[in-house]
Symmetry: C2
Subunit: 346 residues, 2 copies
């Protein structure tokens, strides 16, 4: 018993006195005589048989596993995506493998290539940067892939994008509408796709509002809480009346710094984030944030992937792209400076 004592279809066949083919058929619900069915069922139950998924996959060529690769499991945005994806894939009978690439491009490529090892039937990937090598690897991937993020035009791969250009613009216009004029911007790395797009939205909206772009009000840093706090410290000398942040984590970090310096939010400075993650509601004051539709994107990506798998759309068929519209969620952190609530007892 080289197997470790695990019962197999063979043990069942022996015990029930039938062939392995019959066992397989009974267990997969195909026709069999009353008598046979019963004997097999009983033998399987007595032995505590569990089908070997590996053998099954080898034969069938499918693992019924899908992979989701994201830059950072710690970021609530991706958690939201995971939930949405999970809901769809679970319903379709697939297991979901999660992979955190820690935002390193090499890891992303490795995941893409690993589709070739047939460990999973398909992949949803959320790349933070998109290099030529990414595109090359995407095209030659050994199985269906859906990208969550913006792909250059012409790349024949399904994708689901967020309109973060428009999203950033909405936030800036909102800040302007509440009377802010020195709107600082804490952004992620400028060489990432999200970083680049948010920058574009920021500039566009500033122009629309008749404000001029002032590079002293802009900081590029990493997408996490500590970076947000540090960036805000640097911005303090510029005395902004609003800080727009490229995600909620940055916004939370920034708010933290501002409050620690005795500034009031929103009376002295407004703060807005992006993603509308759980963090935005949890922050104090609750953060205004732009919902880029993380759940929606996750759900949609999963659907696209399943469609490729189940309907076996010929690999070359036209790639589909969906864009989730952004939505501003206004909370306390950007109440107008002239709002009655801002009148403090002091």
């Amino acid at each position: 018993m080289p197997n470790g004592g695990q019962p197999t279809i063979v043990s069942i066949a022996a015990r029930a006195g039938v062939s392995i083919a019959s066992v397989s058929r009974v267990l997969n619900g195909q026709g069999a005589r009353r008598d046979t069915t019963e004997r097999v069922r009983r033998a399987a139950a007595e032995l505590g048989y569990v089908p070997n998924a590996v053998a099954r996959s080898l034969k069938g060529g499918r693992t019924r596993q899908l992979t989701f690769a994201m830059p950072d499991i710690g970021n609530p945005v991706y958690v939201a995506m995971v939930r949405a994806i999970q809901a769809v894939t679970k319903a379709a009978g697939y297991r979901l493998l999660l992979h955190s690439t820690d935002a390193v491009a090499e890891d992303e490529l490795a995941v893409l290539r690993s589709l070739g090892d047939r460990t999973s039937d398909g992949l949803i990937i959320c790349p933070i940067r998109i290099t030529d090598e990414h595109i090359e690897t995407l095209i030659t991937a050994a199985g269906p892939v859906v990208v969550i993020g913006s792909l250059p035009p012409g790349v024949p791969v399904d994708s689901v994008r967020a309109d973060s250009v428009a999203g950033a613009a909405i936030a800036v216009r909102h800040l302007h509408a509440t009377g802010r004029r020195r709107i600082a911007f804490i952004n992620g790395p400028s060489d990432t796709v999200p970083g680049h797009n948010r920058d574009e939205g920021y500039r566009t909206a500033l122009a629309e509002c008749g404000l001029t772009y002032d590079e002293r009000l802009v900081v590029h840093t990493d997408f996490d809480i500590d970076s947000g706090a540090a960036a805000a410290r640097r911005l303090l000398t510029e005395a902004p009346d609003a800080v727009f942040c490229a995600n909620d984590q940055l916004a939370l970090g920034a708010a933290h710094t501002l409050l620690a310096r005795g500034l009031r939010i929103p009376e002295d400075v407004a703060v807005a984030g992006m993603d509308d993650s759980a963090l935005a509601q949890a922050g104090w004051p609750p953060l205004t944030s732009v919902d880029l539709g993380s759940s929606e994107r996750g759900r949609r990506a999963a659907e696209l992937l399943l469609d490729r798998l189940e309907n076996a759309a010929e690999p070359g068929s036209a790639p589909r792209t969906t864009t989730a519209p952004p939505r501003l969620v206004v909370r306390g952190s950007t109440a107008p400076a002239t709002d009655p609530r801002s009148a403090r007892s002091a």
Copy 2:
């Protein structure tokens, strides 16, 4: 080519003009003639060969995949564990499958049973409740399992526990030491292991401090932000001078409610949480929290599991249990009411 055109060891053998056995040997770095080695390597590269992990697993009996099942991916505590586990398993050459059970017992059992399908070589599970059925299933599991959490004595399974009884007690004593006397407690469900233990710690510490347990100051609810906020609303009528929460999410929710009602933290009410997750540092004011060693527990669990796997310790060998000591991390949310900083300008 029923395979989908994927190159296999057979295609390589044909192209290189050698047997499949030689291909396998070359690719696995075993001895071969210079000439053979080179031809195989080249053929493999030209075809873009990637070994089929499924076939390999079937033959080898191991998938080099491990599973981590946790109640909730959204909770930063589990994220910390995932990171720690990942670090260990990745170094050992294992892939990690993540599974969110959403705290439903049936799902936990399903994961445990699914070890039998040989999809992964071992399992780390973080059960929220432990029923007799859990124990039964744990014992008969088809592969090595490590439990993160408290197991009743005598269950022959490796486990890593947090001392949340002691942890809760530390927090309560700290609140008492800073002058608080009406210490409310927002706890998770009392029929969960963590919920039960934290309750015990709370009661013990109260007694030590000479305070009496007052059930009007205690709320049992779910382990998330919204529940914390709702619980705090209910507690307001009791005018506590401190709120101890069974995790950081509850604490954040509670702080939120308190601040929204115009109470000052820590001047009017102190707030303390547990887990010392990213949330605690991110909150405003930064939350005092008890670090229950999530990373440490994750790391340790991974090590135990790997040890079982690699050293093939005979299944019956003595189960090992580790306990991670709690550690109080004091932050702004529990500064003593008499602290000079608490004197406001007003």
